[in-house]
Symmetry: C2
Subunit: 422 residues, 2 copies
Amino acid sequence: MSGEFVSGLKCRLCGKVYPKEALNFCTEDFGPLEVAYNYEAVAKSFTRQAIESRPRTMWRYRELLPVDGEPTVGRHVGGTPLIRADRLAKALGLRELYVKNDAVNHPSLSFKDRVVAVALSKAVELGFETVGCASTGNLAGSVAANAAAAGLNAYVLIPDNLEQGKVLGATIYGAKVIAIQGNYDHVNRLCSQIAFRFGWGFVNVNLRPFYAEGSKSMGFEIAEDMGWRIPDQVVVPMAGGSLIGKLHKSFKELERLGLVSGPVNTKMYGAQATGCNPIANTVKTDALRVKPVRNPDTIAKSLAIGDPADGYFASQLIRDTGGWSEDVDDDAIVDSMRLLAETEGIWAETAGGVTVAVARKLIAQGKIDRDASTVLCITGNGLKTQEALIDKIARPVVIKPSLAEFEALVGAESPELVATEA
Amino acid sequence: MSGEFVSGLKCRLCGKVYPKEALNFCTEDFGPLEVAYNYEAVAKSFTRQAIESRPRTMWRYRELLPVDGEPTVGRHVGGTPLIRADRLAKALGLRELYVKNDAVNHPSLSFKDRVVAVALSKAVELGFETVGCASTGNLAGSVAANAAAAGLNAYVLIPDNLEQGKVLGATIYGAKVIAIQGNYDHVNRLCSQIAFRFGWGFVNVNLRPFYAEGSKSMGFEIAEDMGWRIPDQVVVPMAGGSLIGKLHKSFKELERLGLVSGPVNTKMYGAQATGCNPIANTVKTDALRVKPVRNPDTIAKSLAIGDPADGYFASQLIRDTGGWSEDVDDDAIVDSMRLLAETEGIWAETAGGVTVAVARKLIAQGKIDRDASTVLCITGNGLKTQEALIDKIARPVVIKPSLAEFEALVGAESPELVATEA
């Protein structure tokens, strides 16, 4: 049905065009490939009215998601809330703040369900029966869950230091989960070899051009939920550096197709942890090339990619849009996880703490405009990274089932009653 | 705005009518109070067309949710997926099966966000600044999260044996979390005393009539997503026994208002754990009164209510509709959690395992019709009850980042590759 909308794959460096197959790099210059659309065809059916009449999932934007037929995997993904965050705005000193909450994306509670829905729907179209991924955690759960629902075999490769919730959140689905002695970059290289050797569909290797496009649905939802407006400023966590670029692309596509009034002048802000800050460091030092971080060390494990595939493009985009990038340490991450939870009732994983903490830092630096509309992107759920909090949050006070004991506790205004740092 | 729709509170035993205030029992006979509606007023605006034009949250059914003005708490709650579960259906031997997946309800990943959204919106209307709850875990997180977002003070009382994810999932929001040495029934009694003594709004004590109505939104969504049809059979986990009754009530209300064609003949099936089966036991022994379970002992801690407030009504409803009730042991619970994950990519908490395992048992007993449409209600997320799985699921195989090691592993078809029981 939507086969007419995707014209092929195109090298981001030299522009060479390839057919829409499982291929992720240009054979001429090894540049990354990106999906190319026939926007004239898209424009005919991609209207506000048509979109609003469709079910509230990521597939309401189907003309700009590179699946040719009906999606067969992840049909319910997306449609997550955009929260008007007035209490957090007050704490941060902002006028108009929104939180895009993909911590409650389904099925696996991270934005990765968006990219996996596209990649696995495409994998089915291309005839793959075995799929896989290299993951820092969220992708593992998403590939495992969505592959299980689709009846695909799944190989999930992860670094051997991940959080319990992320490991269990992949094995429970019956995926073949293999822990690699090393960091994400080791895992990723091995996956490239495996995809080539076994001919399997690795969502973030040979299916990467299709996969990455799924992230655009997050941007489309933000714009639609703002009343078909584009925010002035967006703060995005960066691991491989793909999401920030795809969000910006989604805004530009809406502008190009006339669904929002342009010009789009959104400033893109990239958030990283100090223990793994290759892209932030590139921006802050005004370097041309991204210098890999050899040994990532941060509680934000989902962002611990030392050699980010899209790091170059992300740093360029941040510069081009007039945004900025920063990184924050583990204590700041935990503090901001708590701030987000206490003000907006959203429990994000450590990466969400990175996003909020970097926003705080950039506001203090004057790099984020307090009066411009701002969106913070939350990409994963706090239940997945409990290890980061367990020693930092006070345990409950324990009392007997007695009103007298409760009165003694409350009457004394016991400080232990309030959850504070241990 | 919707103030005209709720006429008052009504005793479920003697029918005495009370004003819509924070009161949960009849002063004549201590019968539980229930919200009474003016269905003639409701019928004027509660149409399929009106509902379908509203945002996809629980509030699209607002005429039948007892909040007088605009909801102020939990505005984004609900709208969870109803999954057509063909792979699980095949495994169970059913023809038409759906899973209602409230494991991805937001903000706190359980169906409790529905009841809390109503209770706290009502609490704000009634002028409460401090709210609270007695919880087996999911309610704790939901009250804490939603109260934080609304800027309300929250006291959350729990048994002292809860899972880490549920404890952390309440404290993170800054709620005052107090663990009681005892089981849920001890906690619940203390909360009744506290609500009375301090004049606070306890969602499942003095706000219970409003609170409980929130569950109906799950039933409304099931019917709408089935194309305004009512399922023939519904399997529901039972703790206090409220949800099963409210689901049935939601179907009857849709019938009464002409949104579905009647008559509604849905058979209601109640699921419990063998370690805490007061309602199932009542049904199975054809008893009139519910005999409390003194010392609940099950991994399904969220269902561990030994003296269920709505146990009598639940057992009556199950009988009246021609349904049945069963209970399952811990091993069966874990097996069914895995079955659900491996077939449909849904990771439910232990209570979800109870629901699937009881469905399996009732199918084997011939009590569930294999050819009738069936809905399984999943009410909470698997990330919250990791303890139940951690020793039952194989850990990942660990290898070096080497293609040769991977080939040796896969080539040998090592049984450790597949997640099997340890």
